[in-house]
Each structure stands twice: as structure tokens, then as C-alpha cells.
């Protein structure tokens, strides 16, 4: 399989780098200071391919805290709130769209 770094990045708008946390699989986002956060609001947003590539390279170099990092689209509201850019990312950010059977 082609490594994410070898794939040509197409960036047509604001993007973030996201991954799953190694220890529990939770969804995480790369922050501007080189750590990970579990809230989209804390993610570093970039808008160009070189910037996205740089963010992704740094994310993939972190072998211990997160796995399967990739670039994901987001939308910015006029107030600069970060929203998921597609349904898949919305579900990753907010959880399944159906009620969970075991919920209290």
C-alpha cells in the first residue's frame, strides 16, 4: 500500500491531520504545537498542500501516540469554528449517528 507521504496531497480548502490514538483507538487531531487533541476545535488547520504535508510528516513521525494519520477536510464557519468536512469525519468526530444499544 502506498504510504500517505508518497500520495500526492490535494488540498482544496481547510484541512486537518487526524489519526487514532494508539492506546485506545480514539479519534485525535494534530495540534499546532506538535501534540494530539481529541477535540476538533484544538486541531491545527492548514490550507495549502505543503503545509498539510508538513503537518502530516510530523504526525506520522510520532510512532507511539497515534496511528494511521491522514489529512481530512474541514469547514470553517464565519466565526472560525472548525467543522468536519464530510460525513465520515462528522461520524469520527461526533460518534455514530444512531443511538447506541447499551446507552443508559
Amino acid at each position: 500500500m502506498t504510504s500517505p507521504l508518497q500520495q500526492k496531497l490535494k488540498v482544496n480548502g481547510p484541512v486537518v491531520v487526524t489519526a487514532n490514538r494508539l492506546r485506545d483507538g480514539a479519534v485525535v487531531y494534530r495540534t499546532a504545537d506538535g501534540t494530539w487533541t481529541n477535540t476538533l476545535a484544538g486541531a491545527a488547520v492548514v490550507t495549502t498542500a505543503p503545509a498539510a504535508s508538513e503537518l502530516l510528516t510530523a504526525a506520522l513521525a510520532d510512532k507511539l501516540r497515534a496511528v494511521d494519520a491522514y489529512v481530512a477536510p474541514v469547514r470553517l464557519t464565519p466565526e472560525q469554528e472548525i467543522l468536519p468536512g464530510n460525513l465520515r469525519e462528522r461520524i469520527r468526530a461526533q460518534g455514530p449517528t444512531v443511538a447506541l444499544p447499551g446507552a443508559a
Binding site: N20, L22, R23, D24, G25, A26, V27, K63, L64, V67, D68, N86, L87, R88, I91, R92, G95, P96, T97, V98, L100, P101, G102, A103
Partner: protein, 552 residues
């Protein structure tokens, strides 16, 4: 129930220790993700959208009450209080944490449960008719042969790195409840002209991107040759199956490209060189395995006891359930009870820890401690005395697993879809939930009769959409969810792939399309005895297509 011995317990225990070490080394950084991923997959651990997912095998769909309680415990302690029964007699936990996986697998192992060979390019969990051992129409208990294959193919070094995953299913009944024709190898037990029992061997079935119905390469295989012949099929596939293209790596592609006849000849040649060797089955070995399946000591009872007839006459809801969810049993006075995991507006196949515990208790009280798991994502209690049916029904009804919709339009097979799965393109579960809400009227569902809807959230077809009477496949178009509909598919002994109805429809319209199909069927059928599938066969796709697309 099959009684595991020390060898099985040692094997599973050793795997737990090995996996604990591997997880520890991954968390410490000693193992990279590339090194660790194949190791976790060998233990049924996937990384999905929000979390790790643990898939646990339920060999030939047979669970003890103790095992079901252990699954409930794992759901409660390590997950979010529920599990998802799949179309391959597995259960999946969707929220498990890597750091807790070693403890979870150790707890599972204490009940003889594990995730070995539930992922990866190996022989997966071997499945059978969920009514094996109790079905009145079976020749013999297919689980004995499934167990024999399981033992032979567990950690088989030659077949641990096949070109792609490999699925085997068996049935010993005239009516195929195990979908054997859509498996890599399907085995059907039957009698030959001389009255001997053996196997019809079918190969190259499968769904996914390129669906095929399996082709028969051996109409009758004597029992003694089962292991050697399966070994020859696997060797032939291992040698010639493609490893250069993941989409062409399954045995179905090889069988299609070579032709079933040539593939069969290759198998035959390989088989001739091994059939009289160590794999020729000694009847004593088979008898030993068969002896470890413990059957209940049924009482001498009569069918249709008076208390059942009285209860049936006295309660309309009970009668509806009895006629829908209760089936004939081999032993007089007993019944097979299907527990619908398809309540209106809930995810198909999901069960809470509380339900699992309650079902385990009911299995102890009413079914000799045994539970079965079917590929349609329902459970069954296989040994219920008919005189107990009313009392059992009340308790099943109280925990929400007595919806009388088995084999009806709301008994939907669905994969987890985009709500969980990293491969999915579209959601399955909310589509299923909405369809069940549209058909929540039991009068309507019963008037529609037998009608199977199968939903997959992507082309990989975990929801078996190609063989649904109505099949629904989720696709993504320009960032939106669309659903392609097929009709006329079936997974039984007359397995067939459905035909495409027309252009895919958006998420918001898919339940409307199902309503249109149901309405068209009611108008087109010759009478209530003609099920949906037979109407499609008689009139073709076109009248349904006209109805669905006329207003779109």
C-alpha cells in the same frame, strides 16, 4: 455443546499470553505499527473509525450460557455494554481499548472464546446451519464436521498466509440456512444413490466486489476424504491464487478465470497424491469428536401439548410469535425458538449485556444451557420443551427479543456501515432502522410474507446485499450517500444474485423505495402464497422498476 479439552484450553491460553506480550511491546514502542498490525489482526483486532474492534468466533454458531455470560461481562467491563452479532457467526465489540485487550482476551479465554482466525488471510470461523443437531430435516449434525475442519485448520502453518481470507460453511439439511453457496467452500451433506452420506463440494462462491455463486467440483465426497480434499482445494488455491491484486485474490476469481472444471481437475490431481495418506479420516477420530458433542437428555414428551394449544388460542400476541419464531425440532415435544435481534428502530444484530445475561439465564432454564447464533444476526434457543413456550415467550418479550418478525421485511441483515466501519462508504444501520419503522405494523409485515432485506455499507458486502430478496448497497457519490437496490437475490439452496433495479437513490429516499417495492409486490403477486421472490421471478425486474422510478 462441544466440550473442549486440555489441548484447546492450552492453545487459547498460550495465545492470550503471546498477545499480551505483543500489546505490551507495541505500547512501549518496541514494535512498530507495521509490525504489530498483522499480529493484532491474527487475534481479530481491527482499528475502526472511533476505536479498536474485537471480533470473536462462535464456531458453528453454538454458545453455552456460560460463554454468553462471558460475552456480557466483556461488553460491560471493556466495551459500551453491547455487542454486535455478525453474518458469520461472530460477535464484535466496537469500543474496545488496546491497552485493555489482553485482559479482555484472557477473560474470553476462560470461557473457551477467542478471536483467532477471525481476521487475516487464513481460514476464518467455520460456519454451519444454526439449527444443526436439532433440525428435523438434517441428515446428521454438521457441527461434527465443522469441528473436525476447525481443529485441522486452526494455526495450520501452510494456510496461515493464503492469498486472501477463506470462508467455509456447511449444511446437512435440505434447506440451506448457512448460505453455503456464497462461501469460498460450501459443503452440503447428502446421500448418494447407495445411501451413503457424504459432501457435495462447492467452491468459488462469494460476494464483495465480484460476486459469484459457488460451483460444484465434487458432487459426492465420502466422509473419510473430507480433510484431504479440503487440503487439496486449499493447496490449489494457495499455489495459483493471485497475490498481486487484492481485488482478484479470492478463490472465486481463480475458479472463474480457470473455469470450475479445470480448477476441479487441479484439485483432483493434488488430492490423488494425498487422499490415502495421513489425512484419510479414521472413523475412530470422527467418533471421538462426535462423542464430545453433548446432547441434552430430552424427556419423553408429545408434540402439541394441551397447555400449548390452550395458550395459543388464548393470546393473539403469543400466537403471532409462536407461528413466526418457533420451529419444529427433531425431538417430539420440543421446539427451536428464534430470538429476533431486530426490534423496530434498533440496530440489527446488536444485543446489550443485560439481554445477553438474561438470555443465558433463560437458556439454562429452558434450553439445556445452549444458545445458537445464525448468520441472519438472530439467536436461537435450540431445545425448548413446547409446554414451556408460553412462559419463555413472556420472558423473551420482556427483554425485547420476541418481535415476531423472523424472516419478514423488518428482519434485516445489516453490516455496521459508516457509523463504525473504516471501509464503509455509507451508513447501513440508520437505513435498517428507518425501514423497520416504516414496516412496524406487524399486520403489514405479515401480509408481505417472507422477505429478506440485506444492507451493506460498501462493496465488500458484509451485509450480503447481493443475496437479499431486496439488496441495498451504500455508495458514495460526490460526498453524498446513495443506495443501489437489487431485487431477486437469495442465499439458500437455490442461491442467486439479485438484479439491479435502476439508478442509485439518495439516503433520504431509500426507505421510500422499499415501501414502493412492497406496494408493487402486493399489487403484482398472484396471491398471498406467492412470496416476493417468486413474484420477481415471474414478472421480472421491470414492473418493480417502473413503480419505483415513475415518480423519481
Amino acid at each position: 455443546m462441544y466440550v473442549y479439552d486440555d489441548f484447546d484450553r492450552t492453545l487459547v491460553g498460550e495465545r492470550v499470553r503471546e498477545f499480551r506480550d505483543q500489546v505490551g511491546r507495541r505500547l512501549s514502542g518496541e514494535l512498530s505499527e507495521d509490525e504489530f498490525k498483522p499480529l493484532r489482526l491474527m487475534n481479530g483486532v481491527y482499528l475502526q473509525l472511533h476505536a479498536y474492534m474485537l471480533r470473536i468466533a462462535i464456531p458453528y454458531g453454538t454458545l453455552s450460557s456460560a460463554q454468553l455470560r462471558t460475552l456480557a461481562h466483556v461488553a460491560r467491563k471493556y466495551d459500551r455494554n453491547y455487542g454486535h452479532f455478525t453474518t458469520r457467526q461472530n460477535i464484535q465489540f466496537n469500543w474496545i481499548k488496546l491497552e485493555q485487550l489482553p485482559d479482555a482476551t484472557a477473560d474470553l479465554a476462560s470461557a473457551g472464546l477467542h478471536g483467532m482466525q477471525t481476521s487475516g488471510n487464513c481460514v476464518r470461523n467455520i460456519t454451519t446451519d444454526q439449527w444443526a443437531g436439532v433440525a428435523p430435516d438434517e441428515i446428521e449434525d454438521a457441527r461434527v464436521w465443522a469441528e473436525l475442519l476447525r481443529q485441522h485448520l486452526t494455526l495450520h502453518p501452510e494456510f496461515s498466509f493464503l492469498p486472501r481470507k477463506f470462508k467455509i460453511a456447511l449444511t446437512a439439511s435440505a434447506h440451506d440456512r448457512a448460505a453455503v453457496k456464497v462461501h469460498d467452500i460450501g459443503l452440503r451433506m447428502h446421500r448418494n444413490g447407495a445411501g451413503e452420506v457424504g459432501f457435495e463440494v462447492m467452491v468459488g462462491g462469494g460476494l464483495g466486489r465480484t460476486p459469484f455463486i459457488a460451483k460444484t467440483i465434487k458432487p459426492f465426497l465420502p466422509k473419510r476424504d473430507l480433510l484431504s480434499y479440503i487440503e487439496a482445494v486449499l493447496r490449489t488455491y494457495n499455489q495459483y491464487g493471485r497475490r498481486d491484486n487484492i481485488y482478484k485474490a479470492r478463490i472465486k476469481i481463480l475458479v472463474h478465470e480457470l473455469g470450475a472444471e479445470k480448477f476441479g481437475r487441479e484439485v483432483e490431481e493434488e488430492w490423488q497424491s494425498i487422499k490415502d495418506g495421513a489425512l484419510a479420516l479414521d472413523p475412530a477420530v470422527v467418533a471421538d469428536i462426535a462423542s464430545r458433542f453433548k446432547y441434552p437428555r430430552y424427556q419423553t414428551l408429545a408434540d402439541n401439548p394441551p397447555e400449548l394449544a390452550k395458550a395459543r388460542a388464548g393470546d393473539h400476541r403469543f400466537r403471532l410469535w409462536l407461528d413466526n419464531s418457533v420451529s419444529n425440532h427433531k425431538a417430539p415435544g420440543y421446539a427451536i425458538v428464534t430470538l429476533s435481534l431486530k426490534p423496530v428502530g434498533a440496530p440489527p444484530g446488536d444485543t446489550t449485556a443485560e439481554q445477553m445475561d438474561a438470555i443465558a439465564d433463560l437458556a439454562d432454564r429452558y434450553s439445556f444451557g445452549e444458545i445458537r447464533v445464525g448468520h441472519e444476526q438472530n439467536l436461537a434457543l435450540p431445545h425448548v420443551a413446547q409446554r414451556d413456550l408460553l412462559a419463555l415467550w413472556r420472558e423473551l418479550d420482556a427483554i425485547g427479543v420476541a418481535t415476531p418478525n423472523v424472516n419478514l421485511i423488518s428482519d434485516i441483515i445489516a453490516c455496521p456501515g459508516l457509523d463504525y466501519c473504516s471501509l464503509a462508504n455509507a451508513r447501513s444501520v440508520p437505513v435498517a432502522e428507518e425501514i423497520t419503522r416504516r414496516f412496524k405494523s406487524l399486520d403489514l409485515a405479515h401480509s408481505l410474507g417472507r422477505l429478506h432485506i440485506n444492507i451493506s455499507g460498501c462493496i465488500n458486502a458484509c451485509g450480503h446485499h447481493h443475496v437479499g430478496h431486496i439488496g441495498i448497497l451504500g455508495v458514495e457519490k460526490n460526498g453524498e450517500e446513495f443506495y443501489q437496490v437489487t431485487i431477486g437475490g437469495r442465499a439458500d439452496e437455490q442461491a442467486e444474485l439479485g438484479a439491479i433495479l435502476g439508478p442509485a437513490v439518495p439516503y433520504g429516499e431509500i426507505a421510500d423505495v422499499v415501501e414502493d417495492l412492497a406496494a408493487a409486490y402486493l399489487e403484482l403477486r398472484e396471491g398471498p402464497d406467492e412470496i416476493f421472490l417468486n413474484t420477481v421471478k415471474r414478472v421480472g425486474v421491470e414492473p418493480f422498476k417502473e413503480r419505483v422510478y415513475a415518480a423519481r
